[in-house]
C-alpha cells in the first residue's frame, strides 16, 4: 500500500483529499504545516506528498526546500496544490522541488490521475 502525506492548514481540505485518496486505496497521514510535515517525513517514508502553499509557521515552499535537502530521508514526488495559478508561482513551486502543480479547488479525477502518474501506476 502506498502512503501519502497531505499537508494543508485547512482541515476540510485535508479531509476532502483524504476521502478521495483513501477510497482509491492509499494510506493517508496529515500535517497542518511545513514543520509538522517535516517531523512526520523524518519518521516515516512517504511515497507522495501533497503540499499546500499558504500555511502558518512553514509554508509549502519552505517545506519542500528543506525536505529536498535532507540526506536521511527517502525522496518522493510532491504535488503542490494551492490557490495561486500564475506562472511565477508555478516556477517557484518547481524551483522548491515540486513535481507537479495543481490549483485549488481540486477535482477528484484530476488529483487521482496526477497521483497515479507520479506513483508510476499509469502507463503514459
Amino acid at each position: 500500500m502506498k502512503h501519502i502525506l497531505v499537508i494543508d492548514d485547512a482541515s476540510t481540505v485535508r479531509l476532502y483529499h483524504r476521502n478521495i485518496l483513501e477510497k482509491a486505496g492509499y494510506s493517508i497521514d496529515e500535517a497542518i504545516n511545513g514543520i509538522e510535515a517535516l517531523e512526520k517525513a523524518l519518521v516515516k517514508s512517504y511515497d507522495l506528498y501533497i503540499v499546500d502553499v499558504n500555511m502558518p509557521k512553514l509554508d509549502g515552499y519552505g517545506f519542500l526546500k528543506e525536505f529536498r535537502r535532507l540526506e536521511d530521508v527517502v525522496q518522493a514526488p510532491a504535488i503542490m496544490v494551492t490557490t495561486e495559478a500564475g506562472a511565477n508561482d508555478r516556477t517557484l513551486g518547481y524551483a522548491a522541488g515540486a513535481n507537479l502543480y495543481m490549483t485549488k479547488p481540486t477535482k477528484p479525477n484530476e488529483l487521482l490521475s496526477y497521483v497515479r502518474l507520479l506513483l508510476g501506476e499509469v502507463a503514459e
Binding site: S11, I32, G34, E36, E39, V43, K57
Partner: protein
C-alpha cells in the same frame, strides 16, 4: 449525573480545533477520556452545552479556558527520568554534535526550564554522569529556572518522594540519593551541580542573563502559553542559544505550533529542534 452529551460532530469539531492549537490529536479510541474532561469543563464554565462552551473557548480574549482545557487533557506529573528518550538523545547524539563544532574549551551550557521541583535538571546531571563519555573531558554547566520562587527553593533543597524516584534504576537511586523520612534526599554533589534561579521567560531582562546556551530542555511549558507568548518564548530561546544549539520540547509538543526559527532534526532517540549553524 450530567445531562450534557458530546455528539460525534461535537467531538470532531473539538478534535480539529484542539489539534490545530496544540498539535495533540485525539483518536476515536480516546473518546471516553476526552468526553469526560470536556463535560467537566463545560460544567465548570457553567455553559449550557458543547456549542456555547466551544464559542466561549474560541472567542475568549484571555485564552484562560484553552489553558484550563490543555491542563485537563494533559498528564502533568513530574518525576525523575521522565521522557528519558530525550536524555538518551542528549548523550547519544546532541552532545556529540555540539562538541564536534566547539571552537574552544568553554563549558557546555544546558538550561532546564521550568525547573519545577528539580527532577529534570538533576535527571540531566545523573544521565551525564552515568552515560556520557565526554563528562571527563568537558565542563558542563547546568542552569535551571522557574517563575515560582517557592518551587525554586524546593528544587534547591532536593528532597523527593518515593513516587518521584520510582522510575530510577535501583543502583542509581542508591548512588545519588540518601533515604530520608518520607522520601529521598539528593546527594550534595548533585545539588551543587545545578544552578537554580527565579526567571520569568517572558521578561527580557530576566532572560538576558542566559547566553551561549547549547541545549534547552523546555518540556510541557509552552503548550500552556497562548500563541503570542509561545512565539516570544521561542525568540528568547533563540537569542539565548549558540548557533547549532538544541531545544527539546515535551513529547506531545511541537515547534509546528510555536515557531519557524528552528530546524527540525531527527536523531535515533528523538526529534529535536536546532538553531541553524549558518545565519538564517
Amino acid at each position: 449525573m450530567s445531562s450534557i452529551i458530546i455528539s460525534e460532530s461535537d467531538f470532531l469539531k473539538f478534535k480539529e480545533y484542539f489539534y490545530r492549537k496544540t498539535g495533540m490529536l485525539f483518536e476515536d479510541s480516546k473518546r471516553y477520556f476526552v468526553d469526560k474532561r470536556l463535560i467537566e469543563r463545560i460544567e465548570a464554565t457553567e455553559s449550557d452545552n458543547f456549542r456555547s462552551y466551544f464559542n466561549t473557548l474560541r472567542f475568549e480574549a484571555s485564552g484562560d479556558e484553552l489553558q484550563q482545557l490543555v491542563n485537563a487533557m494533559t498528564v502533568n506529573e513530574t518525576y525523575f527520568f521522565r521522557e528519558e528518550y530525550q536524555f538518551k538523545c542528549l548523550v547519544n547524539s546532541m552532545l556529540d554534535e555540539i562538541t564536534r563544532h566547539k571552537k574552544d574549551n568553554s563549558p557546555i551550557r544546558i538550561w532546564s526550564v521550568p525547573s519545577a521541583s528539580g527532577e529534570e535538571p538533576y535527571s540531566i546531571a545523573i544521565y551525564l554522569l552515568e552515560h556520557w563519555a565526554g563528562i571527563d573531558k568537558w565542563d558542563i554547566e547546568i542552569v535551571s529556572s522557574d517563575i515560582d520562587t517557592k518551587i525554586v527553593a524546593q528544587a534547591k533543597r532536593g528532597h523527593y518522594s518515593t513516587r518521584s524516584v520510582q522510575n530510577l534504576p535501583k543502583p542509581i537511586l542508591a548512588k545519588y540519593f540518601i533515604p530520608q523520612a518520607g522520601g529521598y534526599q539528593i546527594c550534595e554533589d548533585l545539588r551543587q551541580a545545578v544552578e537554580f534561579s527565579r526567571v520569568n521567560i517572558m521578561e527580557p531582562l530576566d532572560v538576558r542573563n542566559f547566553r551561549d546556551i547549547d541545549v534547552i530542555f523546555c518540556r510541557n511549558l509552552l503548550i500552556y502559553f497562548d500563541n503570542a507568548s509561545r512565539r516570544q518564548a521561542a525568540e528568547m530561546f533563540f537569542d539565548s542559544m549558540k548557533a547549532g544549539g538544541f531545544v527539546c520540547l515535551g513529547h506531545s509538543e511541537s515547534m509546528s505550533r510555536i515557531s519557524s526559527l528552528f530546524r527540525v532534526r531527527k536523531f535515533p532517540d528523538a526529534i529535536v529542534y536546532q538553531k541553524p549553524l549558518e545565519a538564517l
